[in-house]
């Protein structure tokens, strides 16, 4: 009766729906048709022009593939990307970072490139030494080919050096040790000026009322100390991990590290470095541009911000010499492919191109970053020279092989959550460096259980 009719109706409805769904599924693969669009994400807007040039060249060589560049600011980049992974709307190729890729690899949202590379004969030995191995997991899976690298140097305000009676050579040859800061601390002291005009190395200097700090502070990423302690501590022979990449134990409780971070606190107390709160609210680059700091420790990725400071002759010096020489943390970027991409073959073609001399030379010529292939690096150095900028300070570490590979372990974000506040508190003076003994245990615990 009624039930009978409705049952038949129901069956008919179900059948129609299923047919419609199957029809839609059937037309999935667009074998022939329009061009394939590969979405490529970056966070540095200054890098867009050179990579657009790369894209244009690539598109000429590969008609049928369109490259779409998407630039999102650094802060939003790492928020938007995971949302893309979760919601299946991520870009096909992403600019990846050494600190983030282990988590992505473990979560299987980026693709191992091994079989592509083997098939096409792409080698990882054409890059600056040490970079390529960082992008491989212990099981041998490779998630990126190096595309650029960066180091950290001391950036100085030439005018302030002169007024203080110092020469850039003195800064270039500065020495350092955690006990008395070496000649480096003396230089910073001399460059510090309090509100009454008294210099840091003169009697009566008032650390509570400083007008110009000798050395700047970047409290943003203290966990690896890229723009703070990394080079200094290494110059004492300190190594953060038991092995790198994929270490299983951290050494924040090493006396050499404690001495280094203690020296940082000492500099703040003496008034040669700004306090954490000022440094955080204003930012190191802003303080330099505003003439509030005479020297900054920063990476070559911010080069352009410093060199375009009006009225200031900017100089770059390598980090000061410790007992084991001058060292710098050595970071590198690469491009990874999202596992959810609908066009893996085309995505690989683009990644292969990005990792090749053809693209890296274009990027080198634009003098925005140092590409990973040595020849392209040379072109970048030359391009900087043409602009009147001497970047030898940044490249000096490679000659001596004094580059600290970026620390890679599992649980990096969780470890950062523990270390960043602890190190901040030490710089604020509310904790002493020996608290690191227990915190290091907690950090190693995290690695034990995962």
């Amino acid at each position: 009766m009624r039930a009978g009719i409705s049952l038949r109706f129901l069956l008919a409805a179900v059948a129609t729906t299923m047919a419609a769904t199957l029809a839609a599924c059937g037309g999935g693969e667009q074998a022939s048709g329009g061009p394939v669009t590969i979405r490529y994400s970056l966070w540095e807007s200054r890098q867009q022009p050179p990579y657009q040039k790369c894209a244009n060249l690539f598109q000429k060589q590969n008609p049928g593939i369109r490259i779409q560049l998407e630039v999102t600011g650094w802060n939003d980049y790492w928020g938007a990307l995971p949302r893309g992974f979760i919601g299946d709307t991520a870009p096909d190729v992403i600019t990846d970072h050494l600190a983030k890729y282990p988590q992505f690899a473990q979560s299987e949202v980026i693709m191992p490139l091994n079989r592509f590379a083997e098939r096409d004969g792409v080698r990882a030995n054409i890059y600056q030494p040490g970079l390529a191995q960082l992008w491989q997991t212990p099981s041998g899976q490779r998630f990126g080919f190096p595309k650029d690298w960066d180091t950290v140097a001391i950036i100085s305000n030439g005018g302030m050096l002169q007024k203080a009676g110092l020469s850039k050579q003195q800064l270039d040859n500065a020495s350092w040790n955690p006990k008395d800061g070496g000649t480096f601390e003396k230089i910073a002291a001399r460059l510090s000026v309090d509100k009454k005009g008294v210099r840091g190395d003169q009697p009566g200097f008032d650390p509570a009322n400083v007008a110009v700090y000798g050395l700047g502070l970047d409290p943003g990423s203290l966990t690896y100390g890229q723009t703070t302690w990394a080079g200094f501590a290494r110059s004492l022979g300190f190594e953060l991990l038991d092995k790198n990449p994929w270490g299983r134990a951290y050494h924040y409780d090493d006396p050499r590290f404690m001495a280094t971070i203690g020296w940082w606190r000492h500099m703040i107390e003496k008034g040669y470095m700004p306090p954490v709160s000022d440094a955080r609210t204003l930012g190191q680059t802003a303080m330099f541009q505003g003439g509030k700091i005479a020297m900054a420790i920063d990476g070559d990725w911010t080069l352009a911000t410093y060199t375009t400071t009006k009225g200031v002759k900017v100089g770059f010096s390598p980090q000061p010499r410790g007992p084991e020489g001058r060292w710098s943390l050595y970071n590198g970027l690469a491009d990874s492919i999202w596992t959810g991409t609908k066009h893996p073959q085309e995505a690989w073609k683009w990644v292969k191109f990005l990792a090749s001399p053809a693209c890296q030379n274009i990027v080198g010529d634009s003098a925005v970053v140092f590409p990973a292939i040595p020849e392209a690096t040379q072109r970048a150095v030359a391009a900087h020279k043409k602009n009147g900028v001497d970047v030898s300070a940044f490249t000096s570490y490679l000659k001596d092989k004094h580059t600290i590979l970026f620390p890679i372990t599992e649980q990096a974000p969780q470890i950062n959550l523990m270390m960043q506040p602890t190190l901040e508190k030490i710089l604020l003076g509310s904790e002493q460096p020996d608290v690191l003994k227990s915190v290091n245990d907690q950090v190693n615990n995290l690695l034990k259980y995962h």
Binding site: N75, Q103, Q106, S107, V109, M418, P421, Q442, L446
Partner: protein, 295 residues
């Protein structure tokens, strides 16, 4: 009989589906997840036994979250209950005007997020109006949400401001159930206001007070909205300064949606439930809420 059962089945069906799919099944699944290494991005996980629980007990941030949340609950509920009781008695003695009751309950109706942002603005260390008034009476500017030691009391204060009217209304309704003759008898005996409060009001209010306390405490342990929104400032990350406001809910949220470790987040949630059951049971015991002195 059977006809009624059939009718009942139809009436119950939608809500029962809702119950099973979104309450019962997730609860069981959650417990299961806590024994796996389920990763949110990978959308899969394998059984790892009690490893998450072992990691939890060794996790300094877990104990930090417990401690921070505990501090918050004690300050929040302690002050809020006293204030709400006072307001309820005040209303009871002065007026039961709907307008006044309405005004007092208004903050409770507004989303937590809205109020947290409003107070974040008013408590801003340099531009906020609260510091401005403090300065005019000679007190130096406080960092409030930007200070490690002040952030939890400040969050508690915001929550108290939001809830005191609402809680007062609940207690007020309870006060109305106390028969007037008790008060009249006590007044005839010459008892003072305070004495009447202690010997008549409090004991007879105990069941309502106990229930309100248990629910408030359980709710307070679950604070999330205001912490996530107000401890970060513009463009920042919540939980700070340092880990001073990284309460349980926030830590669970971070583990699940920033570290993608759903297995561990599930284990933390189980720990939280166990704690809440424990706390509620102790409270009910201590307050002897089952009995009412009215009976």
């Amino acid at each position: 009989m059977s006809r009624e059962t059939k009718a009942a089945a139809l009436f119950l069906l939608p809500s029962f589906i809702g119950f099973v799919v979104f309450y019962a099944y997730p609860t069981l699944r959650g417990i299961y997840l806590s024994f796996t290494d389920f990763n949110l991005l990978r959308n899969s996980g394998e059984w790892v036994g009690t490893r998450n629980y072992q990691a939890m007990f060794a996790d300094a941030l877990f104990w930090n979250a417990l401690w921070v949340t505990f501090k918050y609950v004690v300050i929040n509920i302690g002050i809020q209950t006293v204030l709400a009781l006072g307001i309820a008695v005040l209303m009871h003695r002065l007026t039961s005007s709907v307008v006044i009751r309405g005004i007092l309950v208004l903050p409770w109706l507004i989303p937590n997020v809205v109020l947290a942002l409003l107070w974040m603005w008013m408590l801003d260390p340099s531009l906020g109006i609260v510091n401005h008034y403090l300065n005019t009476v000679g007190i130096s500017s406080q960092a409030f949400l930007g200070s490690e030691s002040q952030v939890i009391p400040t969050l508690a204060g915001i929550n108290i401001w939001r809830h005191m009217g609402y809680t007062a209304l609940l207690l007020f309704a309870g006060l109305m159930t106390i028969p007037k003759n008790y008060y009249e008898a006590a007044a005839l005996d010459g008892a003072s206001e305070w004495h009447m409060f202690r010997t008549v009001t409090l004991p007879l209010l105990r069941p309502v007070l106990a229930l309100v306390l248990v629910i408030s405490v359980v709710g307070s342990f679950q604070i999330f909205d205001s912490v996530q929104v107000a401890t970060a400032g513009f463009g920042g990350t919540p939980g700070g300064p340092g880990n001073a406001s990284r309460v349980m809910y926030l830590y669970i949220f971070q583990q699940a949606f920033e570290f993608y470790d759903l297995g561990y987040a599930a284990a933390l949630s189980v720990a939280l439930i166990v704690l809440l059951v424990f706390v509620a049971a102790i409270q009910l015991r201590l307050l002897r809420a089952g009995e009412s002195d009215l009976a």
